[in-house]
């Protein structure tokens, strides 16, 4: 349980810190200190439980189907790292309390720092690989937020993004690798994976897994060639650099390699991959560190180099090397964190990190200088300091393993060169900052920092000394516990002593020191230390990253134009084309064939009818561009022929509906045409280009293809027998159960009334939308005026409100049409009521009624009609929906499902038998809704001619429209970089 607390506590602390007010610096710092100290104490308490290879663990069930539990597991190695993380956290928090400026929003800083710590502890304590990846990615994210803490600095933003992209990308590779490990082992539990090393190495996925895990680890530990993000990340506040980018997060990569070492090590690939990357990082880091101007730059590259050293050791497939690696992880964390703190103090007190400006600070800040010097010495590998011990082990292993792998010369040489550079940059760091003539032109006058900043750094240096002098007493048992937990029975003999006699490693060490000092003196003499790194600066990985970023974005923008067209025509082309392909492809196996059902004998009349219909369709297609009215007329012709076809083939209901819809559609389109300024036919040269011709040809081909396809499909079905059983059911039960003779209507209002229900909803929706759109409609400027024909007419045909009849030529039409009105109304009710037994129904009835209303508008004009007839179409729509719905719910009273037909037979004296049914109520709802919707749409369009000024608009509205406008445009230029 305490184990859980160890991980949860920092997160809780983080959340709590986030809620502190921005100015609460001390509160936040104290809070963070208590959390980190508490964690440290917790970790220390666990030491007895992890000794002798024992493991403390806690497990909560989470996703058992996928073998994933929340599983925290602490062994010796994890304990060591947990101690590192929590202790270092405590020191850094202490340091940061004084380092951070009062203007900074400190609670946010501590919040992220604590979250990071939690995530780091999570990595360390994960007993499950997936869970490890979860925390792994969390460290990347918190690191992102911490690097970008001063996000007003462009460099900080860029560095943060670079770091997060590299590490998250690596994390995703790791995820894949881990998933594959899980697939190989059959479990994601660390215990199982570590136990299955042989199986893993024998699996054909092993190389892939190795590469993927390595990618995760190397990106995280800033190893070559992914090292470039780390120096950039130095824009972060120094506590962050000290904590994340030297002591802990970058160690996660090597931690992982060590953690999975038993499962993955032992192959040539492992050696070449890991040692290779490590060696490259070791050299690149060491050389680059020598040529940095920025104090933190030196430390960053040296971190790369030292992590390279650790990586190399891990790759050597040797148990002793592993011990050395783990040992050096601890050592590096102590001296490097101390150095970062020192560099931070220098920056804090002088206002600069530029080594060219810094000089002779030892006078003003002797304590700081002392502490930093000792730490740097540890980094250089000076005896009696911890760095020396692990470096010696490294030299030894380079010789041993070099001998074993045939790299007798290469490995020790690499080690020595790196050692030399390490000495050089360490000496340079101390010499150029603290010694020499005191600098005078610094932004701030240097002085010793407050004790709070110095103490953490000094404590770390004390640790360096203690370990360096008394390794077996201090780090010895702890290291053994840790190594035991990794290696178990394979733990080799090793001795942690300062003096091992004159051995080959010592020789190498001396050589390196000598070389390093000479190198520094040489460089100093030639004033070369401030120059860009020779050769290596030619390949600037971070620059490449930026360029790559821009290339990717620009490239994506270009490719996106291929993937996403902005032209409607292309989209429709794709749909039609694909449908055609799909339709044809379905016949790939058996081919198309007509059925053997006997055909109806050809009726010449029908042929003639469709000669006309086809002519209308083609004519409409041809005229639609410039002669809209003609096209509309021809469309009407095609519609009538379609309607006659329905009638011809025994579908009177369809014919009725089609004809009424036809009339309303024509009126609707004409009402719309009023607001569509005329197109003047002209000879567009663009239409004659070969490309335009080719496009038209393609469209013709597609149209013909689609037409042929549709005809072929239709013919194939028409010539096959109809075996629909549901038809039989519908016909059989229509009269007896559903009480209707018109089976189509019975389907519409009873069997499948739910379709009708949805259909009227669609009509209602569209009417509402049309009305809403038209209320805000801005017509084309060309068509906003009263049509000229009307302007010229002194006696408007309609619209004089008090006149009973129009004065102009509409007088007699008005008399006739108004007389027709009630008659049409009667016809509409007739169709409504008889629908169940004969062609008709609510829909046709409603359309007839709506048309009756619309023709009144046509002869009377909007104002005149509305001064005498208040129609509330929305009301009709709403009532229609409610009525239809009520007809549905009525069935519940009889404990029947929604829309079940309920009927009552009444016997009324004189009148005879009456059959009342909820079906009629439903049809009444349809009727009302159709009236309302159609009238609403048509009248709303008609109202466009009746306009008045509106009120001013609102800024929000503009903003909203602006946002939409921006969303619609994809700018291809890239802003970042």
């Amino acid at each position: 349980m305490l184990l859980t607390l160890m991980v949860v506590l920092p997160f809780l602390g983080s959340v709590a810190a986030a809620f502190l007010p921005a100015g609460a610096r001390n509160t936040a710092a104290s809070w963070a200190t208590s959390v980190t100290v508490a964690c440290t104490v917790l970790v220390l308490l666990f030491y007895p439980e992890v000794q002798d290879g024992r493991v403390a663990s806690v497990r909560f069930e989470w996703l058992p189907q996928f073998g994933i539990d929340v599983y925290l597991r602490m062994d010796g190695f994890a304990w060591l790292f947990a101690l590192l993380v929590s202790l270092m956290g405590a020191l850094v928090v202490l340091y940061a309390r004084y380092y951070m400026s009062a203007e900074d929003p400190v609670p946010r800083f501590f919040s992220f720092l604590l979250a990071f710590m939690g995530a780091m502890l999570g990595i360390v304590l994960s007993g499950n690989l997936i869970q490890l990846v979860v925390f792994w990615e969390l460290t990347s994210l918190t690191s992102f937020m911490l690097i970008a803490y001063w996000y007003h600095l462009p460099d900080a933003r860029r560095a943060a993004r670079m770091a997060v992209v590299v590490t998250v990308g690596g994390g995703l590779c790791l995820l894949l690798g881990v998933l594959m490990l899980g697939a190989i082992v059959g479990s994601y539990d660390l215990d199982d994976v570590l136990a299955a090393g042989d199986a893993i190495r024998a699996h054909r996925w092993y190389p892939t897994v190795l590469v993927l895990v390595a990618l995760g680890a190397l990106t995280k530990s800033a190893q070559f060639p992914f090292h470039f993000w780390l120096p950039q990340a130095m824009t972060a506040p120094t506590p962050v650099s000290a904590y994340l980018h030297s002591a802990t997060m970058v160690k996660a990569g090597v931690f992982l390699l060590a953690r999975l070492w038993p499962a993955l090590y032992g192959s040539e690939l492992w050696f070449w991959l890991i040692t290779g990357a490590g060696a490259a990082s070791l050299l690149v880091g060491a050389i680059s560190a020598t040529f940095q101007r920025d104090t933190k730059g030196v430390l960053a590259y040296s971190t790369i180099s030292h992590l390279g050293l650790i990586t190399m050791l891990l790759g050597m497939n040797s148990e002793l090397a592993l011990v050395a690696a783990v040992f050096h992880m601890m050592n590096h964390a102590t001296f490097k964190a101390s150095l970062f703190m020192g560099a931070g103090i220098v920056q804090h007190e002088t206002g600069t990190r530029d080594m060219q400006r810094l000089s002779g600070l030892a006078h003003a800040m002797p304590l700081t200088a002392t502490v930093a010097t000792v730490a740097a010495a540890a980094m250089a590998g000076v005896p009696l300091l911890n760095g020396f011990l692990s470096k010696e082990m490294f030299f030894e292993e380079s010789i041993v393993v070099g001998g074993a792998t045939g790299l007798v010369i290469t490995l020790p040489t690499i080690a020595t060169i790196a050692g030399a550079f390490s000495v050089a940059y360490s000496v340079r760091f101390i010499h150029q900052v603290f010694f020499g003539r005191p600098a005078t032109d610094l932004p701030k006058t240097p002085k010793e920092p407050t004790r709070g900043m110095l103490v953490p750094s000094a404590l770390l240096v004390v640790a360096c000394l203690l370990i360096g002098i008394l390794p077996a007493r201090t780090i010895g048992p702890v290291l053994e516990t840790a190594m035991l937990s990794i290696l178990g029975a394979n733990l080799p003999e090793y001795r942690l002593v300062v003096w091992q006699g004159f051995t080959a490693p010592l020789l190498l060490s001396l050589t390196a020191s000598t070389l390093g000092l000479s190198l520094y003196l040489l460089l100093l003499k030639r004033r070369a230390t401030m120059r860009p790194t020779p050769l290596l600066s030619l390949v600037d990985a971070s620059r490449l990253f930026d360029v790559g970023n821009v290339v990717v974005v620009r490239g994506a923008a270009r490719v996106a134009h291929f993937f996403f067209t902005r032209r409607l025509q292309s989209q429709l082309l794709a749909i039609v084309g694909i449908a055609l392909v799909a339709g044809v492809a379905a016949f790939g196996g058996v081919g198309w064939s007509a059925g053997d059902q006997p055909l109806h004998p050809l009726d010449p009349l029908f042929v003639l009818l469709w000669v006309g219909g086809a002519a209308c369709a083609i004519g409409a297609a041809q005229q639609a561009k410039f002669h809209r009215l003609a096209a509309l007329i021809m469309l009407g012709g095609a519609g009538l022929v379609t309607c006659l076809t329905f009638a011809w083939f025994s579908a009177p209901d369809l014919a009725l509906t089609q004809i009424t819809v036809e009339v309303v559609s024509v009126v609707l389109l004409l009402l719309g045409l009023r607001w569509l300024p005329r197109r003047i036919p002209f000879d567009d040269p663009r239409r004659r280009t070969p490309r335009a011709r080719a496009r038209r040809l393609r469209d013709v081909a597609l149209a013909l293809g689609a037409g042929t396809g549709a005809a072929a499909l239709a013919f194939a079905v028409l010539t096959r027998p109809n075996g629909a059983e549901i038809r039989d059911f519908y016909v059989d039960n229509a009269l007896e159960i559903a009480n209707g003779r018109n089976v189509v209507n019975v389907i519409l209002v009873d069997y499948r009334s739910f379709d009708t229900f949805g259909e009227i909803t669609v009509v209602a929706i569209v009417a509402i939308i049309v009305y809403a759109l038209l209320r805000r409609f801005r017509p084309a400027p060309e068509s906003i005026d009263v049509p000229r024909a009307q302007r010229a007419d002194p006696s408007p045909p309609v619209g004089v409100l008090d006149d009973p009849l129009p004065r102009g030529y509409m007088k007699i039409p008005a008399v006739l049409v108004r007389l027709l009105g009630p008659m049409a109304g009667l016809v509409s009710v007739y169709f409504l009521l008889r629908g169940h037994d004969a062609p008709g129904g609510g829909f046709v009835g409603g359309l007839v009624m709506a048309t009756a209303v619309i023709v009144q508008y046509m002869v009377g004009g909007t104002m005149w009609v509305e001064s005498r007839l208040r129609i509330h179409p929305q009301l009709w729509i709403a009532l229609g929906l409610l009525t239809a719905g009520a007809a549905g719910i009525l069935a519940w009273l009889a404990a029947k499902p929604f829309l079940s037909a309920l009927s009552v037979d009444l016997h009324v004296p004189l009148l005879g038998d009456l059959h009342l049914s909820s079906v009629l109520l439903f049809d009444l709802g349809v009727y009302m809704l159709v009236i309302g919707a159609v009238v609403l749409m048509l009248v709303a369009l008609a109202h466009q001619s009746l306009r008045s000024p509106r009120r001013t608009q609102f800024v929000e509205e503009t903003a909203d429209a602006q946002a939409a406008e921006e969303a619609a445009e994809t700018s291809t230029s890239e802003a970042s970089a």
Binding site: A183, F564, S900, L946, A968
Partner: protein
């Protein structure tokens, strides 16, 4: 009470319908009343959805033994009447819809639902359409509900007008009208060949078809499938999507996140009900796989290419569609539970993200209109006869709720959460979805490894993660960290709470991954067992038919 329980399956359709109709009767001025109706309706829907969800689980096996409930509308049994079928999949979709819609509705009251526009009615009808599409067991009825939801979405896309919206709206409408024609033709062919419209009734008839009739049926099924793929935003039929979604106002776009999934749902639902033919399934699978993969890639490229957050989120919708289709195309049954998990997450994620964009849009500095609106364009039509007195459908700006402090911090936090969700990074459930998916894919990789399909998909899934991070950090940094040209918006609790709510639901999903995944396991089993579905829906009809065959 028990009587009402019997009618539960119809409520997700009836409740929003009545609410919408009732709101049409309520005048523009009575905003609170309309809002109360809308809110009440969605609350009821969420409750009903949860009850239905419960009823489909094994815990409620006494209610619906197979986890499948059938509601015979009009009292006509399948395949003659239209039936609503509640199973785990549909009840999950109902729950998702209600959740997202509720969040979007609350959000919309901040200032997106000004009077004069029938926002709430259309919103309810959109939800009704979605619910209907998820519930119906009838192919043509599915078309009708597609039309209901599309019609409502047409209006909602256009909400707010402006040239961009109308242009994108026109494209959206035109494309969907074309797709609707395909839908109709597909359904017609299916009826023409097998003589039934009930989804459960298809399989029995299809298997009895002679080969050349079967080709006709296939043509219908393929054409129908294209209509679904258009809705699902599958490449190359998805060019409309980024435009239409990104011009929509935030709460609408949030519900559209569910809408895209209707296409996927239809594929999922009908895929197993149309054919048990292994060869056909393989072809279908390959097509789905490759289509999905290309869609996924196209979405990623779009994400990388765009500079605009809402557009980016729209592309992420495409990515998620691609991922879903490609995964389904693998033809591994075990992949279905993670796919469903992913589907649920991506709906919630995208919805939350769209809602968030509505707030981040306001961090920009708004320039007042540069020119006086032209006199002609601002002459609006009058509708005295309709009982409308004001020519201006927009009422006065009225702030709702209290502004929340630390607006930027909240936005930033939510943004990060959304990024994690979209990128599939821990600790949010996007990660769970992705790793469970990959876990299944990799476990079965040796089996299906011949095609390398699993590997390619795995890499693509991981690529989406890194692409999301690359693209979103770029936009996020500009949005939150670029010092100039930004203002801190006033956020209202009603806007902030829904986003936080959706993110919390996501967190809840992560925490409850185990039980959720168990539910999806059961869902997948039920999906891959069409016989139970068919038997439950057709009931005794199946028995009688087999008897008839015997005779």
């Amino acid at each position: 009470m028990t009587a009402l329980l019997d009618h539960l399956p119809i409520l997700p359709i009836a409740v929003p319908l009545f609410a919408a109709a009732a709101m049409l009767l309520v005048g523009d001025a009575r905003r609170t009343l309309r809002y109360s109706i809308a809110f009440g309706s969605l609350t009821v829907q969420l409750a009903v959805a949860l009850v239905l969800l419960y009823q489909t689980t094994d815990a409620a096996a006494h209610i619906w033994p197979n986890g499948i409930g059938v509601y015979e509308i009009g009292g006509w049994p399948a395949p003659f009447g239209i039936v609503l079928v509640v199973d785990r999949l549909s009840s999950m979709m109902l729950t998702l819809t209600a959740t997202v819609a509720l969040a979007a509705l609350v959000y919309s009251t901040a200032h997106w639902d000004r009077p004069g526009q029938p926002f709430h009615s259309l919103f309810q009808l959109l939800v009704m359409g979605l619910n209907g599409a998820f519930l119906t067991g009838d192919l043509f009825n599915l078309f009708v509900f597609f039309e209901v939801l599309l019609a409502a979405s047409y209006g909602l896309v256009l909400r707010g007008l402006g040239t961009a919206r109308v242009r994108m709206g026109l494209h959206y409408i035109a494309v969907n009208l074309a797709a609707s024609f395909l839908f109709l033709i597909g359904v017609a062919l299916i009826y023409g060949t097998v003589g039934t419209l009930n989804m459960a009734d298809l399989l029995g008839h299809v298997e009895a078809l002679p080969p050349d009739d079967r080709a006709l049926f296939d043509a219908g099924a393929w054409i129908l499938g294209i209509a679904f793929l258009v809705k699902a935003g599958s490449w190359p039929l998805n060019s409309w999507l980024p435009g239409a979604y990104s011009v929509s106002i935030a709460p609408v776009a949030a519900v559209f996140a569910v809408m895209t999934k209707v296409g996927v749902y239809a594929v999922l639902r009908l895929g197993t009900l149309m054919s048990e033919d292994a060869a056909a399934a393989t072809i279908l699978g390959e097509i789905l796989y490759y289509t999905g993969l290309v869609t996924l890639v196209s979405g990623m490229i779009g994400m990388l290419a765009t500079q605009h957050l809402k557009r980016l989120v729209s592309y992420s919708v495409i990515v998620s569609s691609g991922l879903l289709l490609a995964s389904l195309g693998l033809g591994i049954e075990a992949v279905t539970p993670p796919v469903l998990f992913y589907l649920a997450t991506s709906v919630l994620t995208t919805a939350a993200f769209f809602l968030l964009t509505g707030m981040t849009d306001r961090t920009r500095l708004v320039m007042p209109p540069a020119h006086e609106p032209d006199a002609q364009g601002d002459i609006l039509p009058v509708y005295m006869a309709f009982g409308v007195t004001s020519p201006d459908p927009y009422g006065t700006e009225e702030e709702v709720g209290a502004a929340i402090p630390a607006a930027m911090a909240f936005l930033g936090l939510m943004f990060v959460c959304c990024v994690l969700l979209v990128a599939g990074l821990p600790p949010l459930p996007g990660f769970v979805a992705k790793f469970t998916l990959l876990s299944v894919v990799l476990e079965t990789a040796p089996v299906v490894g011949a095609r390398n399909a699993g590997w390619v998909l795995a890499v693509a899934v991981l690529a989406t993660g890194i692409v999301s991070v690359v693209a979103l950090t770029r936009i996020g940094m500009r949005l939150f960290w670029s010092p100039a040209q930004r203002r801190t918006p006033r956020l209202h609790v009603v806007e902030a709470a829904p986003v936080a709510f959706l993110v919390l639901v996501c967190l809840g999903l992560t925490a409850a991954s185990g039980p959720v995944m168990r539910f999806f396991d059961a869902t997948a089993r039920s999906l891959h067992d069409p016989d139970t579905y068919i038997e439950t829906v057709l009931g005794s009809r199946v028995a009688s038919r087999t008897e008839g065959d015997a005779q």
